[in-house]
């Protein structure tokens, strides 16, 4: 049985830790609310962007544009979006694991890392890091996504890299986030995207109706039949304008989703940490009471024993 004072000290320290985890949980919860709103508000925008543009790319016969060019082999640029800080459960690690898998299986991989966690990890592994961004904003702006997109386009056009994909975390709810790997360049066409309808199902109600009708049209005419789109003023000029926008929009949404996920993961992690601390305190309190009781019993036995001896 542990010494009473030791137990008391443990209880004190666990209580202190609990205060910290509780505070972190509250902070995360407050930020989550904001980040979640932003991410969810941006979803119709993201879905429309993907739906409209991929639809256009899919249904247009090989539109010649540098950003649609599929080149064999070459370097693969992976954008890895993690957080700057830990204490958020498996959030960072799930993303890093997926990225590491790609780094290990493919020959030429470069990374663009966002968030200190991913940077530190891949630095230790000596992976080629093309660019790094740390100290991200809690609520990333459109301008930041714009810069990232510009950089990616620059690398792709210079043929430094022949494929660009992005690993981010999709926010389902505060307790459930899923890691996604999305190919950015060359822009993927619809037929290869199997999980699309599933993501649309989770849409907020107002967008759901559109999503359904659109899914139908895509099924009907998407596979083989090409729609003759008019491009105003010309396909080249339109693609020059909308392809970068597609990238920016997609990256922007991914940033928002990832941030919301980070706060969600942190809130959940800190919530269970607080709960664990409570359990631990209960446990220690029980131990303390037992120790105290044992001490009292011992003293009584001693007194009784002493009294007996005097008789």
């Amino acid at each position: 049985m542990q010494n009473m004072r030791d137990i008391q000290r443990r209880i004190g320290s666990v209580k202190n830790t609990q205060k910290i985890t509780r505070a972190m949980k509250m902070v995360a919860a407050a930020k989550l609310k904001n980040a979640q709103n932003r991410a969810e508000d941006a979803r119709p925008f993201f879905n429309k962007t993907v739906e409209v543009l991929r639809g256009v790319f899919t249904r247009t016969k090989e539109a010649a544009h540098p950003l649609l060019a599929e080149r064999e082999g070459g370097r693969h640029l992976v954008i890895v979006i993690t957080g700057d800080r830990g204490l958020c459960g498996a959030y960072n690690h799930k993303v890093i694991d997926l990225a590491e898998e790609i780094v290990e299986t493919e020959e030429e991989v470069s990374l663009m890392v966002l968030g200190r966690k991913a940077r530190d990890y891949f630095r230790r592994l000596d992976t080629d890091i093309m660019a790094e961004y740390v100290q991200l904003d809690d609520y990333p702006g459109y301008g930041f996504a714009n810069n990232l997109a510009d950089e990616i386009i620059h690398h792709f056009e210079a043929e430094d890299v022949n494929k660009v994909s992005m690993i981010y975390t999709h926010f389902n709810s505060a307790i459930s986030q899923s890691v996604k790997n999305m190919q950015l360049l060359p822009v993927e066409k619809f037929a290869e995207e199997a999980e699309k309808p599933e993501t649309e199902q989770k849409e907020p109600v107002e967008a759901e109706m559109d999503a359904e009708t659109d899914a139908e049209t895509v099924e009907e005419e998407g596979e083989k039949k090409y729609v003759d789109y008019i491009f105003e003023p010309s396909p080249a000029e339109v693609f020059d304008n909308i392809l970068p926008q597609y990238l920016i929009n997609v990256i922007y949404s991914a940033l928002l989703e990832s941030k919301a996920s980070e706060f969600g993961a942190r809130m959940t992690a800190m919530d269970s940490a607080t709960e664990n601390a409570s359990e631990m305190i209960d446990d220690l309190t029980l131990k303390y009471n037992r120790a105290r009781q044992a001490e009292i019993t011992k003293e009584i036995t001693e007194i009784v024993g002493g009294a007996e001896a005097l008789k």
Binding site: D41, A42, E206, Y229, P233
Partner: protein, 143 residues
């Protein structure tokens, strides 16, 4: 009004679904100039620039200030995906005025190319907002 054909217009921004209605026609600034869309239009894709989209719905006209984006047209619907879109009642006129003045100042100084382009875009956005909000006493010839 079952007789007159309508077209579904969805204006989507990162912040929200800004506008979603059955409309009679729209007219907006594409990269190569003003473009008008009526129901049953042939499929079309174009990029949009900063400016004012004029929407006619049941004979009434609504003006929406937009910034860069793109538009996809199908015979029965228009998807207008833009960075920002504001209906007249959402526009903060004072803020737009202030932004316009700021941009004007920068344009006058204008040394750096990038700064100049940014100021120009800011100026256009402010003008578009003012125009959509119905403030006529400013130089809007630009848009």
């Amino acid at each position: 009004m079952a007789a007159a054909p309508k077209i579904q217009l969805d204006v989507v921004t990162p912040q929200k679904l800004a506008y979603s209605e059955q409309v009679d026609l729209i007219e907006g600034p594409a990269i190569d100039g003003l473009i008008g869309i009526l129901p049953d239009h042939a499929p079309l894709v174009t990029a949009m620039q900063i400016g004012v989209v004029r929407v006619v719905k049941d004979g009434e006209e609504i003006q929406i200030a937009i910034s860069e984006g793109f538009m996809e047209v199908q015979p029965d619907r228009i998807n207008l995906v833009v960075r920002t879109a504001e209906l007249p009642e959402e526009i903060d006129i004072e803020r737009a005025e202030a932004a316009k003045e700021r941009a004007e100042e920068k344009l006058e100084k204008g040394h750096d190319k990038v700064d100049f382009a940014k100021a120009e875009a800011a100026y256009d956005r402010a003008l578009a907002r003012l125009k959509a909000a119905g403030h006529q006493d400013h130089g809007y010839d630009r848009l």
